[in-house]
Amino acid sequence: EDKVVQSPLSLVVHEGDTVTLNCSYEVTNFRSLLWYKQEKKAPTFLFMLTSSGIEKKSGRLSSILDKKELFSILNITATQTGDSAIYLCAVVGTGGGADGLTFGKGTHLIIQP
């Protein structure tokens, strides 16, 4: 069965700080790893990673995948209060049941002004 472990489960920082969120995984027939941001409603897509060592970047957010060590990190620099959310890591493989995403429990990030 596919498994995703995120750490930390919660994190409180001040505006302007840089944060690193971690995601490790075990997956059968790895296809991709995805990061989502969930505020009050639906998860919204941030990144999809399929290859090791290639950084994906979008503004202050960036992410990288290490397929050898089976983990990914999501970095947020110069955090703002609007970055407060639950960040979800998910993998696509063939051991997750129903061919869907297997999610971690998320990191609840709180940015204090």
């Binding site: 998860p43 897509f45 049941g97 129903a98 061919d99 869907g100 995403l101 429990k105 998320g106």
Partner: protein, 111 residues
């Protein structure tokens, strides 16, 4: 303009009732999914449906059944609702199993 939509947004019902949640996507995606998010915010896949092939997560009770009238819709029917079914249910869709886009969710409360 909404890519993935669900109705209703909120559903409050009594134990033992049968209810349905509708999902529609206008992205032209070939695969649709249902997820359950529990009170601890843990998202878990329930079903995926692709071109008439339904794949069921073995942990889902058979009181839950998805029905797809066409490629753009995947509705979720739940029979004999139980207290433990209370959760937020998300529909999602993707093309070729890649990035999944989620609907706004339906908060189901069983009394």
């Amino acid at each position: 303009d909404t890519a993935v939509s669900q109705t209703p947004k909120y559903l409050v019902t009594q134990m033992g009732n049968d209810k349905s949640i509708k999902c529609e996507q206008n992205l032209g995606h070939d695969t649709m999914y249902w997820y359950k998010q529990d009170s601890k915010k843990f998202l878990k896949i329930m079903f995926s449906y692709n071109n008439k092939e339904l794949i069921i997560n073995e942990t889902v009770p058979n009181r839950f059944s998805p029905k797809s009238p066409d490629k753009a819709h995947l509705n979720l029917h739940i029979n004999s609702l139980e207290l433990g079914d209370s959760a937020v249910y998300f529909c999602a869709s993707s093309h070729a199993g890649l990035v999944q886009f989620f609907g706004p969710g339906t908060r189901l409360t069983v009394l």
